[in-house]
Symmetry: C2
Subunit: 638 residues, 2 copies
Amino acid sequence: LPLSLSEYNTHNCIPRKSVLYQDNMKLFREEGIWNYSTMLVREDLGLLILGAREAIYALDIKDISIKKSVVNWPVTDEKLKECTSKGKHAESECRNFIRALHKMDHNTMYVCGTNAFSPTCVNVTYSEGHLTRGDRLEEGKGKCPFDPIQRYSSVMVGNELYSATSNNFLGSEPVVLRSGPSSLRTVFKSSWLNEPNFVYMDLVPESDNNPEGDDDKVYLFFSENAVEYDFYNKLLVSRVGRVCKGDVGGQRTLQGKWTSFLKARLDCSLPEPSLPSIVQDVFLLKDSDWTKSVFYAVFTPQSSLSDVSTVCAYNVSTIGQLFDTGKFKTPVTVETSYVKWVMYSGEVPTPRPGACINNAARALEMTRSLDLPDKTLQFISDHPLMDEAVPPLTGRPLLVKKGAMFTCLVVDNVLALDGERHAVLFIGTENGFVQKAVNYAGEMFIIEEIQLYRTPEPIKTMRLSSSTGQLYAGSDYGAVQMPLCDCGRYESCLDCVLARDPYCGWDLSSGVCSAVVNSTKFVQSLKNGDISQCPKSDTLKPENHTLVPGNNIKLPCQPDSNLAQVHWLFSGQPLLSGTKHYIYNGGLLILNASTNDAGPYTCESVEQVNSRTHTRTMAVYELQPQTNKAEEGTETMT
Amino acid sequence: LPLSLSEYNTHNCIPRKSVLYQDNMKLFREEGIWNYSTMLVREDLGLLILGAREAIYALDIKDISIKKSVVNWPVTDEKLKECTSKGKHAESECRNFIRALHKMDHNTMYVCGTNAFSPTCVNVTYSEGHLTRGDRLEEGKGKCPFDPIQRYSSVMVGNELYSATSNNFLGSEPVVLRSGPSSLRTVFKSSWLNEPNFVYMDLVPESDNNPEGDDDKVYLFFSENAVEYDFYNKLLVSRVGRVCKGDVGGQRTLQGKWTSFLKARLDCSLPEPSLPSIVQDVFLLKDSDWTKSVFYAVFTPQSSLSDVSTVCAYNVSTIGQLFDTGKFKTPVTVETSYVKWVMYSGEVPTPRPGACINNAARALEMTRSLDLPDKTLQFISDHPLMDEAVPPLTGRPLLVKKGAMFTCLVVDNVLALDGERHAVLFIGTENGFVQKAVNYAGEMFIIEEIQLYRTPEPIKTMRLSSSTGQLYAGSDYGAVQMPLCDCGRYESCLDCVLARDPYCGWDLSSGVCSAVVNSTKFVQSLKNGDISQCPKSDTLKPENHTLVPGNNIKLPCQPDSNLAQVHWLFSGQPLLSGTKHYIYNGGLLILNASTNDAGPYTCESVEQVNSRTHTRTMAVYELQPQTNKAEEGTETMT
C-alpha cells in the first residue's frame, strides 16, 4: 500500500536534532575568491584539492583551514576582453572558474576551467608541498562548460576523460564526449539529448567476473525535455544514460559516435500526482560486487509550487537489466506534424542495439563496435530511449522532506556494532544544512541536521573521506569540513542511544557517548532505540524559585530532541498551555503568578521510537511563596 | 510580463483583516440533521430554502436562525433495506440527501434527493407559512446523483431540468441530461465525458438581441480525465461545455442525443510549471448585455503537494467565439494501440458542427436540429473537444492564494461612490472562512477573511441575496448567514478608508463607518486608499504604567490590519525585537525591566496602499519608575 504524503511527513520529515552553526566550524575561504564548487579528495596525498574562481588549493585533508599550497590560474587580459566583447559579464562569467578536478597517475591532477568562455585544461602537480601548474594547455571544449553556471559532469577512466556538457559558446549543443586517442561523442539530435542538464557520471566495473563477458560502463544522470509525453507545457524528466567503455564507434553508421548510448527515465514519484521530479545529484555507493552497487539520487520538484525534495536509490543491476532486455521507444509521425513516442513492438536487430561487445557478439565474430552491422547501429541511432522507466529500489522514495531543497548528497557505508552495514546519507540543502539520514528496516530516520554556514548558503558540492571520517562541502562562499559523526553531542546515555547514530554508542566504562569500536562495552540500539542497557540516572534535585505574586515567571526547559514532546507537571498534575500557563520552546511561562502557583514543577521529555515511549525528567523546580518582603525579580534568565 | 508566484504572494495572499468566529453569527442547524449543502434563495417569498439530510427547511431570508417551516422526506424502510443490502452505509449513504432545489412557477420548488441510492424528485410548495411535499414522486435517475458525495450540477430552464450527473448505481455512466417533453442526453463515450466531476451549470440568454439569430445556451463546468495529453499518470483537466436550448437531437444520427455538445479546456495556469488546476465552483456574474457576462471560477491544485488555490474569470463571449470559430481536436490512431488527439485540419462540414440553429442554418432551410445533415452530426459525435483552451479574462489568474483550499464562490456587483461597479468575490474555503476580495485596476485585494464556523468546516455551498445584502453558506455542520458588509467593524476613518471596501465609507456627519448611500458626506477611496479627507484625529493621551525593576512588563498594542507593520518607539527612538525587548502580535514585552526602561513608549501601525505609507499611533505609554514601596505587579493584562 502506498503511503500518503502526510504519512511520509510524519515519519521522515523532522531531524531528531538540529545543530545550529558553531563558530569552531572548519572553514576555508580566501578574501575576494568565490565559487568553491569543485573538490577532489586525495587521501593518498593527505589533501583536499579545491577548485575555485581562478585558483586551485591544496588543503590539509584533516583540517581544510590549513592551506598547504595554491596555484592561481587567472584569465589573460586578452581572453577577458574577448569574452566581455561578446556580452558576457566580466566578474561573474569572464573568469576562469575551475570546474573539473581529476586524479591522474601519482601526484598529478587534470584540471579544467571555463577560462572566460574558452574552456581549457591543464595538469597540476603536487610535489614537496607545492602545487605546480603544467605548461601545456589543452583545448577544453566539450570537456568543460563554457558557462560557469551550467551544470556539468565528468569522470576520468584510466587516462580518458568522459564528460557531459555543452560543446559551444551559446550552450545550445549538448555532448557526451570521451576525449583521448579514441574520441567518441553523442549524435547531435533531440532524441539523444534534448536540452539536458547533466548532474553526475561514474564508472561501474561491470567486466569484473561477468559471465556474459560484458564491458565496463559509464553511467550518466541528467534531466532533459521529455519527448515521450504530451503536456500543455514543456515537461522535464530525469534520465539515466550509459555508454560502454570499450565502444569505439561504428564503421560507416555512427562513425566517431557512441554505438552504446542508451537512456531511460528515472522514476522517483510520490503517491500524489505531480510533475516528474528533477534529479539534482547522485552518489554511487560501491560494493565489491558491482551488481550490488547502488546509485542514490536527490530530486527536487519541477514546480516551484511544491517544496518537497526526495531521495531515491537505484540498483545498478536493475538499470542494467532494463537496458539489456527492455523494450525501446520509437517515434511515430501523427498527422504529418506531431511525433509521438510509443513502445516499439517490431523486431529488434541482432546483436541487440546499445549492448556492449559481449560473449554473444563475440560468438558472431564481432569483437569491436566497428564490427556491428548497420542495422543494429541505425536502430540505436534512432531509438536511444527505453520504453520503461527505472523504478526506485524499494518501489518508492527512500526519503521525502518538505522544506529547503536538497542540492547534493554523499553516502557512507557504516559498520555498526550489530555487525550490519548501514548506508548513511548526508544530504546538502539550499539553505546550508546537511541532513544526516539512515534507513532502518524500511523506515527512514534523520539523525540530525547540521548548519554548515552562518547565513543560508546553497551547498553546491559535497565530498566524503571515509578514512579520515570527514565530509567536505563547497558553496559560493567557502569550503567547510565537518566530521561524519560528533558523538560527544549526546550528553546522556538515553540521548546517545535514541540518536540511533550507527557511528556512536554509549561507552559504559567512561560514561560518554563516543565513536564505536568493536567492543562489548558500548550501548547501541539502532533499530529499536532500546535504552534498557543504559545505567540508571540519578533523580534530579529540585531548583528553588521564589514566587512574587503578579509577576510573570519563566521556568526553562528544552528537550534535547526535536522528536520529543515536552510535558509539564504541577504537583504531579499535567499542565496545558492556556491563558495562565504558556508552554513554549524554551520552557514554561506562568503569567500573573499568584500564591496558588506555589509548588513543585516537573518538565518531562517524551520520545517515541517504534511506538515505544521513553520519558525523561529534564528539570524540576520548586516555586516557593515570598516570605516577608518584596524581592527584586524572581526569574532565572538563561 | 508574467508575475512570478512570489510576486503574486506578496500582493494577494494576505487578507487585510482576519475576523475570527463570533458568537452572534446567525446559524441554522437542527440536532441530528447533517449535510446542509443545497440552497435556494427565494427573495420573492422572503425565504432561504435549505436542503439537508431528509429535510427541506424554509428559513427567514433576513435571519436564517428563524425556521418558518420544515418538510421531512425520509427514506422508506424498504428503500433503506434494499440500499444497505447492496453494501452501502445506512447512515452516510442510504438516506435521502437533498441535492437539487429549483424555483418553479409561483411558490413551488422542484426538489430531488438521493433517496437511498434511488434518486427521486418531487414538488414542494410554500403556502401560508407552510412547506408541503407533493404526492407525485418522479424518477430522479439522471436528474440527481445516486451517491450523496458525488459532485453534481443542475439548472432549471423554463420547466425543463438540465442536469449533469451519473446515471447509474455504480456512478460509472455520466450523463448531461435534459428532462421533459423533449428529453436529450449525451452520448456515452469517453470522448464526450471521461470520468467527469460536474461542478456548475447555468443558462446564458444568448438569443437576446442576437444579430446571428443564435439560441440560448446552457454552460456546464466540470473536470475530467484528459484524452489530449499523454502523461505518465492519469491527468485531470478542467472543462467548459455547452448545449443549445433549442436542440432537439438528430433525425437518424444522434437521435435523442445533443447535437450541440461542445467542450474545451479551461486554462487557469500559473507562470510556474504545474499540473492543470481543477475547477471547484463557478459563479456567473450576469450583465444585462449577455456578451458582457463573466464566469468566475475557483480552482485548486491537482496535486496535494501544492496548496495554491486560484480564481480565474472567463468572458462568455470568449468562450462562445472559441466554440463558434475554433479548431476541433481529432483522434488519430498511432501504432494500432495508442489514440492521440491532435488538431483537426481537414474540412469541417456545413452547418458548423455543434452550432445552434441560427440564421446561417435557417438560410439553408434547417430550422431544427432534426434537419441537420448526417455529416455535421457524425462530425460532432466524433469531435466534441475543441483544440484550444479558453484563456482567462486577463490572461492569468485574478487571485492566487496559498493556504486553505478554495471550495466555492459567489460574486456581487457593487456600485461604489465613484460611480464604478466592482465585482466583489466571496470565496469559501476548506477551513470555514470566507475571503472577500476585489480587483482594483488589475491588483487583487482581499478586504477581509471571515471565519464562519467555530471549528474548521469545509464550506460546501454559498448563495447570495443582493437585495437583502446577505450571504448564506452551507456545510455538513449547519447553514450560516453573514452580511455582505459589516462597516461598523472599522472604528476609525483611517481604518474605514484603508479597508477599501466598496460597500463602506466613513460618514463624516455621524463619525462612523457605514454602508454607503449616494451622498457626498462619505469618505471612500477604493483605488488609492487616500485618507486626506478623513478628519484629523486627536493626539492619544499616554497611559501611565509603573515600572518594577526585575519584572517583565507587557505593553499591549494590536494593529487593526494584517497588512500593517507595528513599530515601537522608546523616547522617540525605534525599538527592535531582541533579548531585551520582544515585539509580538499582542504588543511589546520588556524582559527583566530596569530603571533605565522608564520613559515614553509609542506603538505605531504603518500600512501601505499603492506604495503610499500611512502611519497611525495606536497606543502611547509612560513607564514610571517605582516611587517608594514595592507594588504587586505592574502590568495590564488584556
